[in-house]
């Protein structure tokens, strides 16, 4: 068990390292950073000066270790645009996105889990069809468009909700709803599929044969087994939502990490982009490790490996 997690942790660290190398390399590919920094009208001499100043004249490998070394100390460099420390920019924006992603995930789970369970229990009934219809629609609707439709209906026609910004909780309603549609269908399908498999399993037949009441059969015996893959999916989804909130944040002008990334990409502010990619992949890896731990709690076969 412990050995298993040490191994997982090792692989996770290696993954984070690889991602940081890739995102570092990717952004150096994009052209001459010194030229960008110096601006359009700079003379070659000025560009060279900046190149030396920022250490861009050294080899890629040396530059990477420079960056990684200071990143370990919590120093992610400075924004080329505002000269603010990147670490502060990110820690300032991350809570907003985190709130948005977590509440979207919770909303998705609160809707998808019961829906998936009921769809499986009442298979081929109207509720099953409705759930599947919703899943088909949910996985096909473009989120930016859905956001605009929400804005039009609830922000403009009925004037119920504020349409942009992130100052009050009411501002979070439409972004949360929009973002949750990105993960809700998968969670619903997976819960339904897992429940159907569990309900067909012998141990559930056994539970019926023991005279247990339906609630005990469905929730004690079937759901716990069906939940295992859903936990993993939820963790992955949270990681996905943190990175995928860029679309929703830009439509609703939410000042999160997504819009920071978007703005930084548009103005070629590479230290910021690179650090965001790194931080998000780090969070993702932590989340998957966490989901493994939760699964080990639920499933003794993993725990007692």
């Amino acid at each position: 068990m412990l050995q298993y997690f040490v191994k997982r942790l090792g692989i996770a660290l290696l993954v984070v390292l690889t991602v940081s190398v890739i995102s570092f390399g990717l952004l150096r590919l994009s052209g001459d950073l010194a030229q960008n920094l110096a601006g359009e009208g700079a003379t070659p001499a000025q560009v060279d000066e900046i190149r030396v100043l920022y250490g861009l004249d050294r080899s890629m490998i040396a530059q990477y270790f420079d960056w990684a070394g200071s990143a370990l100390k919590g120093d992610l460099g400075r924004s080329l645009f505002s000269n603010d420390p990147v670490f502060e920019l990110i820690t300032h924006r991350l809570p907003v996105t985190f709130t948005l992603a977590v509440s979207s995930l919770l909303l998705a789970i609160c809707v998808a889990l019961p829906l998936g369970v009921f769809a499986a229990v009442y298979r081929n009934s109207w509720i099953d069809r409705a759930a599947l219809g919703l899943a088909v629609f949910g996985s096909a609707v473009p989120s930016f468009w859905f956001a605009l439709v929400l804005i039009y209906v609830f922000g403009v026609q009925f004037r119920l909700l504020p349409i942009s910004g992130s100052t009050t909780w009411a501002h979070f309603i439409m972004p949360t709803v929009t973002l949750s549609t990105m993960v809700m269908p998968q969670i619903m399908r997976l819960t339904r599929g897992g429940m159907i498999d569990a309900l067909d399993a012998d141990y559930v037949k056994m539970a019926w044969a023991k005279g247990l009441n339906p609630m005990a059969v469905f929730f004690k015996h079937a759901l716990r087994n069906a939940l295992l893959p859903v936990v993993s999916l939820a963790a992955v989804s949270l990681g996905f939502l943190l990175g995928g909130s860029v679309i929703v944040e830009s439509v609703f002008s939410v000042n999160g990490i997504g819009s920071l990334a978007y703005e930084s990409i548009k103005r070629a502010d590479f230290p910021v982009v690179q650090s965001i990619l790194f931080v998000l992949s780090f969070v993702y890896v932590v989340l998957t490790l966490l989901s493994d731990l939760i699964n080990a709690r639920i499933d003794p076969r993993i725990r007692l490996h």
Partner: protein
């Protein structure tokens, strides 16, 4: 209410051939038929866009901006769905946009399918270090925030049809790899693979002639799923201005350009959005339907 099924032992019934069975099921599978119809219609739009579009999608006519749709007051047959903020014919832009959408969606699904399937089959069949490397690659891919990577790559390499297709295909190979790897592992242990190995068939022969046909169902299903997602992400990237570049009529751009006028001309947003939605639903229904009719036991 009791959901517990009893084991139904094999009853020996006269069985039609698998192909006949699939055909019989297809005739009763409404989802499959709707999906096939939607995909067919949009494919025709995409292929015959030059003949179907009533007007040039790029010609601006500032005198005739935001013309209403045919059934609204003042609508005319010249512009069935009206015109956009630059006076361009919406229907024509929609039809030409189908071409962009289908090329990017199909291209990205195809390339990522080839990459992912190759990796997954190699990992699943060869095992050992190669498999470990494939798993590691998949983990790295999963840990990268896809949409942000795509946005950065587009900002670096530009928003041409080709670069968008290639960039998107870099995002989607992982699911192909995961599924084909597992499927290959399962197929690998079957007797007919052992038989082929014993008869001296080469690894390449076994991979392509023995394993690939047996996992092609799953590849088609993932392909349809990824094509839908690719279409959605292309639209999102174009909407954000870091995808296909205007004035090329991508559906995402149509929505983005109509934002300024959305409060008094909502149809300019609703129609392209619905088009995306319907096409993706059609592709997903088609994929699910193919899975249902080709492997009945896989239904749930």
């Amino acid at each position: 209410m009791s959901n517990a099924p009893a084991p139904l032992d094999n009853m020996d019934l006269p069985m039609p051939s698998p192909r006949q069975q699939s055909w019989m099921m297809a005739k009763h599978h409404v989802g499959l038929q709707i999906g096939a119809l939607i995909v067919l219609v949009f494919t025709i739009w995409a292929v015959f866009a030059p003949f179907l579009a009533p007007a040039d999608p790029y010609v601006q006519n500032l005198a005739n901006r935001l013309a209403p749709m045919i059934w609204q007051d003042g609508g005319s047959w010249d512009h069935i769905l009206g015109t956009d903020g630059f006076g361009r014919d919406l229907l024509s832009r929609l039809i030409w946009g189908t071409q962009v959408t289908m090329i990017v969606g199909f291209g990205a699904a195809f390339i990522s399918g080839v990459v992912g399937t190759t990796l997954g089959m190699l990992g699943g069949y060869l095992g050992g270090k190669i498999d470990a490397a494939v798993i590691f690659l998949i983990n790295v891919k999963l840990a990268m925030p896809g949409v942000l990577i795509a946005l950065s790559l587009v900002s670096i390499f530009g928003g041409s049809l080709l670069s968008i297709t290639i960039i998107l295909s870099l995002l989607f190979w992982d699911r192909f790899a995961v599924v084909t790897r597992t499927a290959t592992q399962q197929v690998r242990t079957r007797e007919y693979i052992a038989a082929a190995e014993c008869s001296g068939a080469s690894k390449a022969w076994i991979l392509f002639r023995e394993i690939l046909p047996n996992i092609s169902n799953q590849i088609i299903v993932i392909g349809s799923l990824e094509m839908g997602i690719a279409i959605l992400i292309e639209a999102a990237l174009s909407f954000l201005g870091l995808g296909i570049q205007p004035p090329t009529p991508s559906w995402g751009i149509l929505v983005s350009e109509a934002r300024d006028t959305m409060f008094f001309k909502p149809h300019l947003i609703v129609i392209p959005g619905l088009a995306i939605c319907i096409l993706v639903i059609g592709i997903n229904l088609l994929g699910d339907g193919i899975r249902d009719i080709t492997e009945p036991q896989g239904r749930n």
